[in-house]
């Protein structure tokens, strides 16, 4: 049974007490209090990743099992919520990737500035390629709002299906994440065209020089 004092301990202090516990019952009490604080959050996220409650329950059980098995190696100088989040996220990502045989959006690529042939190992080509990748990263930050940017990262980098992203972000618009991908691609293409036009336009100083 937990004491009133334990109710106000921080997550990290509870983890420390778990690690120092002499008796199993004592360790379980501390871990129970600690995990109980996150049960609803883990249940919510597992449900959003899975899309059905039976799978969400399996995922949530697995998250707490892994956390329990590794709680002794938790470093108390880091935050418990971050540590548990990473376990939960990796567990759910693995599940989604194993389950999803569907390919990513196979329409036109988001990349509108084609980099030089990436198989080329010529130094200047490599530098040019890296510069263009940097340009694209900058453009993304400038052209897209936070939600569009997140959807792009979750779909193209984390390889999450659009339906999962829609649930994870709680999107309520008609087409969910798909609509945001479409608008993000459109914005990026416009931004790239503007950037290319800027690069082609001669600078004012050059114009003056030519006029003299």
């Amino acid at each position: 049974m937990l004491t009133v004092q334990e109710e106000i301990l921080s997550d990290e202090e509870l983890a420390l007490r778990f690690q120092a516990a002499q008796a199993e019952s004592e360790a379980h009490a501390h871990a129970g209090e600690l995990f109980g604080r996150y049960k609803r959050r883990v249940a919510t996220w597992c449900y959003r990743y899975a899309g059905d409650r039976e799978t969400a329950l399996d995922l949530a059980q697995d998250v707490f099992l892994k956390a329990y098995q590794n709680l002794n190696s938790f470093r108390v100088d880091s935050k418990f919520s971050t540590w548990l989040y990473i376990i939960m996220r990796n567990n759910c990502l693995n599940y989604v990737r194993q389950r999803s045989g569907e390919p990513l959006d196979s329409s036109e690529p988001i990349l509108v500035i084609e980099p030089p042939d990436s198989r080329s190992w010529d130094t200047s080509a490599v530098l040019e390629r890296e510069a263009r990748l940097r340009d694209m990263r900058t453009l993304m930050q400038e052209a897209l709002d936070e939600t569009e940017s997140r959807v792009m990262v979750m779909h193209y980098s984390d390889e999450l299906p659009l339906e999962t992203i829609t649930r994870l972000l709680g999107l309520t618009n008609a087409s969910g994440a798909k609509a945001l991908i479409v608008s993000a691609k459109r914005k990026l293409q416009t931004a790239v065209r503007r950037m290319q036009a800027r690069q082609l336009r001669p600078r004012p100083a050059q114009l003056q020089g030519e006029g003299r």
Partner: protein, 233 residues
């Protein structure tokens, strides 16, 4: 999209050499580390990771998900707590019983044979079978499933004890409902308008909810199918 284009996209949207592991990034952000703050201002990948963690900490289930989240939360047990006996089919039991000596396996086969014979002779109650379906809280969907040579004409599932009717839905992968209906039988014809939407390679989901006489959900099941790109001839 070519593999190369996909790889380039991953390089634009994935972590770069300047990115920290997510745990380290969040730890630094929590401490108010200025370089980490500056980094998420210019890196979409790390900004997304940071936002997802923030959502995890602040999340509250919304609308229709509240009921399901309550259900999951109430049933989540701590690893040291006694869990209810896992649901295992006889197939998974047999496949995991490698340690059994061949003699024991033969004895088990004999018991099964006698058991099945006895059941067949005295007549097993169909109620027994449907009760086990109710305990599992999952509607067993019989067909269609997986890749199909052509769009399915019929959806079939197993009975659930106590079910007065079944709500059937066909959905796109983004959960947009293409068609739904309610029936008291264990199969429905797929309307032509939906069959026409089952384009080659496009995945569709169908789900069945077993409802009791007051409309409450007893069990639910869903699975997907898709028409093959190149039908087997």
């Amino acid at each position: 999209m070519t593999l190369e284009a996909r790889e380039t996209q991953k390089r634009i949207l994935g972590p770069s050499a300047a990115c920290l592991p997510t745990e380290e990034l969040i730890a630094r952000l929590t401490r108010g580390d200025a370089p980490a703050q500056a980094h998420i201002g210019e890196c979409a990948h790390c900004a997304a990771q940071s936002a997802s963690y923030r959502d995890f900490v602040e999340v509250e289930p919304q609308g229709t998900e509240v009921f399901a989240v309550n259900w999951v939360e109430n049933r989540t047990r701590m690893p040291w707590e006694a869990a209810p006996a896992p649901r295992r089919t006889w197939k998974s039991w047999l496949s995991n019983s490698r340690a059994l000596a061949p003699l024991a396996m033969a004895a088990a086969a004999l018991v099964l044979t006698v058991g099945i014979g006895t059941r067949a002779y005295f007549g097993g109650s169909p109620q027994d079978l449907s009760e086990s379906a109710e305990r599992s809280q999952v509607v067993e969907l019989l067909a269609p499933k997986g890749d199909l040579p052509k769009a399915p004409e019929e959806l079939r599932w197993a009975a659930v004890a106590g079910a007065a009717q079944y709500r059937v839905q066909i959905l796109e992968v983004d959960r947009v409902v293409l068609w739904q209906g309610t029936t008291s039988s264990l199969a429905v014809r797929v309307p032509a308008v939906v069959r026409n939407k089952a384009l080659p390679g496009k995945r569709l989901i169908w789900q069945v909810e077993a409802l009791d006489s007051s409309g409450g959900e007893l069990a639910k099941g869903s699975q997907d199918f898709r028409k093959q790109l190149n039908p087997v001839r």
